[in-house]
């Protein structure tokens, strides 16, 4: 169902892109299309917005025609691993303000090593502390690249 999944993915991505195309066209129509000094800010977006609408409609309709295709099941465990990592990453970014980069990054690394790769907690803790300290020393101290600081001051 690789094909069926892809088909359904094509359908939904087509719908999302059609919505984006419609939004672009609606916005572009509010801006000047052609003025006395030449094309306005709405000119180029209107054209690619229309193209996006047309192409996404083509994707949707060609997908609906192939709807009976069969294939393999989507591998949700694999997708789940990737999305879990993404959520952990987004959470660590959200924690930059209160906790700072160093602590948030250590937590992210710990999560990846201990939870995603199921390594012993000692190894996870060691990797987390070493990599967070490495980032702090290399970027903040040695290269002078500022890292988001939290209530601890780093």
């Amino acid at each position: 169902m690789e094909d069926r999944t892809r088909n359904s993915g094509d359908l939904w991505s087509g719908v999302a892109l059609a919505a984006l195309g419609a939004y672009i066209v609606i916005q572009a129509r509010q801006w000047e299309y052609l003025g006395p000094e030449g094309p306005g800010p709405g000119f180029f977006p209107l054209w690619y917005g229309v193209a996006m609408l047309g192409l996404s409609a083509l994707l949707i309709f060609s997908n609906l025609r192939r709807r009976s295709d069969r294939g393999n099941a989507i591998e949700w465990i694999r997708v789940g691993r990737a999305l879990s990592t993404w959520f952990a990453l987004a959470a660590s970014v959200a924690l930059f303000k209160p906790l700072g980069f160093v602590v948030s990054f250590a937590l992210l690394t710990y999560f990846i090593v201990a939870v995603m790769y199921r390594r012993p907690l000692k190894i996870a803790a060691l990797t987390a502390v070493a990599s967070a300290a490495g980032f702090y020393l290399v970027f903040d101290r040695a290269l002078g690249v500022p890292l988001p600081a939290g209530f601890l001051g780093f």
Binding site: L17, G38, F44, M52
Partner: protein, 502 residues
């Protein structure tokens, strides 16, 4: 004479201690990146781009270019030792390289890959040096309509060869154009697609999108699985890595084939090193007296694609530096780097910044020598990089990505956008939307809109200007023809075959 004088000046720039150092850092990083499966040159260059903002531009471009061509040397190591390509252009090297390693000839395979890379890489730079200045001179006659047509043709070629579905590749390019429109319109001062966010008034930073779509998405895709691959033993000692005289004799045509095909395909937008390596492998097999043995460990089957893969770099830099048109995701990032440092790649780039152009060319000669040295005696050492546990590697890539984005603007908003583009890049991979057209659309979007609007100002609103000038008419016709290729059965079958192989 002009070329020799330029090259001598280039060597004076490239041999400055700081630039030599950055060249070494670039090729070293490139080799490591090429060896590591799952971390490609575009992701690495995007990640490191923000760190180059405070560097001398000559040193910075020398380093980034070093990563670009260095990765191509390193890519063969995993293909030969693990049957896992370090990057897509090394896929074809697996066919004969891994078989040679299984037969106990890993040393010869690694050695010929390094030698072919050196020979063809050097020929590619020679081609860049000879071809770029006349093309730049010719392009001086271009005006806005020609630029719009040229960018349309470049985008069309990338769309053609980016993925199986032209519709999806076109949609990806249109999303890139849309992202490029976000912010204040420089002609009228109108704010577009900002969703009421002040932070979007100055547009979306290219670096944020590139790092998200390439680096973050690559890590997320790699996080899906945890397979460990067996590494075949690397022969120790330089003697065991050197091919025999018979091997070198067998590879004479492969060196030439790889050099020429790699350069020509590289100069074509959308071509890329993957297609170059497959074309040269195909040609080598077609003309070889022992073509039936290809795939069982034939040394020319390693030399030809590895050569093409490296010669492609010189070709790819021709349209980038002389016309300002990148032909792939990696060169689009290099274009963004040049623009961010305050340069405008195009016909005036070489006359206005000769030290930068010739310094880069000279550094590539030096870099190729460095790579030959690094990749022959030090291959066993580099192979140890493969023992780096992925659970430690991926957090590092994520960390460098976040630090890179934060260092550009110091903005938490940009970090949030990075998350959005990381997820977008991952979803695009899952749904078979190619990333290269999006990045190219983003890199060319502002220039395309400017060229189109200036053209219409010149013609007082008439689109006929785009087809009434011969050069732009030819290029636009070619762009349309390129996009119509999927409608022709045989041509589309060829396109799909090239993509499947790649």
């Amino acid at each position: 004479m002009e070329i020799i004088a330029g090259l001598l000046n280039g060597f004076a720039v490239a041999l400055e201690p700081a630039n030599l150092f950055w060249c070494f850092v670039g090729v070293l990083l490139g080799t490591v990146v090429g060896i590591l499966p799952g971390l490609g040159p575009p992701a690495t260059i995007a990640m490191l781009l923000p760190l180059t903002f405070n560097m001398n531009p000559a040193g910075a471009i020398i380093m980034l270019a070093g990563i670009y061509y260095g990765a191509k040397y390193g890519g063969s190591t995993t293909s030969i030792l693990m049957n896992v390509p370090g990057e897509s252009a090394s896929v074809v090297t697996c066919l004969d390289g891994y078989q040679m390693a299984r037969k106990g000839r890993a040393g010869a395979a690694l050695g010929i890959a390094a030698i072919a890379s050196f020979v063809a890489g050097t020929v590619g730079v020679l081609g860049l040096m000879l071809v770029a200045p006349p093309i730049a001179k010719f392009a001086l006659s271009f005006s806005s309509p020609e630029y719009f047509a040229l960018m349309s043709l470049g985008l069309a070629l990338v769309v053609l060869l980016a993925g199986r579905s032209i519709v999806k590749a076109l949609l990806a390019a249109l999303v890139g154009l849309w992202i490029a429109s976000v912010g204040t319109d420089l002609f009228s001062g109108t704010s577009r697609f900002t969703f009421g966010h002040m932070e979007l008034l100055s547009g979306i930073d290219f670096v944020v999108v590139a790092i998200g779509v390439f680096a973050l998405a690559e890590v997320l895709a790699n996080m899906e699985a945890r397979e460990e691959t067996q590494l075949l033993p690397v022969p120790k000692g330089l003697k065991n890595l050197l091919p025999t005289m018979q091997d070198l004799k067998d590879c004479r045509f492969a060196f030439l084939n790889g050099s020429v095909i790699g350069f020509l395909v590289g100069a074509l937008p959308g071509g890329g090193s993957t297609i170059a390596s497959f074309l040269s492998y195909g040609l080598e097999k077609a003309v070889s007296p022992r073509r039936e043995q290809f795939g069982t460990g034939v040394i020319e089957g390693v030399a030809a694609p590895e050569g093409a893969n490296n010669s492609e770099t010189g070709g790819a830099l021709v349209p980038l530096l002389t016309l300002g048109i990148p032909g792939s995701g990696t060169t689009a990032i290099l274009l963004a780097a040049l623009v961010l440092w305050g340069f405008k790649p195009g016909p005036l780039f070489i006359p206005e910044h000769p030290a930068l152009f010739w310094g880069l060319v000279a550094s590539m000669y030096i870099g190729n020598v460095m790579l030959l040295i690094l990749n022959l005696p030090l291959v066993p050492l580099f192979a140890q990089v493969l023992r780096t546990p992925v659970y430690a590697l991926y957090p590092l890539i994520l960390g460098v990505s976040m630090v890179g984005v934060y260092s550009v603007s110091g903005s938490m908003f940009d970090l949030a956008l990075l998350m959005v583009f990381g997820l977008l890049g991952y979803l695009m991979r899952k749904l078979d939307y190619p990333a290269a057209p999006l990045i190219l659309g983003l890199a060319l979007g502002a220039g395309m809109e400017r060229a189109l609007r200036q053209s219409l100002m010149m013609s007082e609103g008439s689109l006929a200007i785009l087809v009434s000038r011969p050069i732009s008419a030819v290029m636009l016709s070619l762009a349309v023809l390129v996009l119509l290729i999927p409608m022709f059965g045989k041509l589309n079958a060829w396109r799909l075959r090239a993509l499947e192989q790649g």
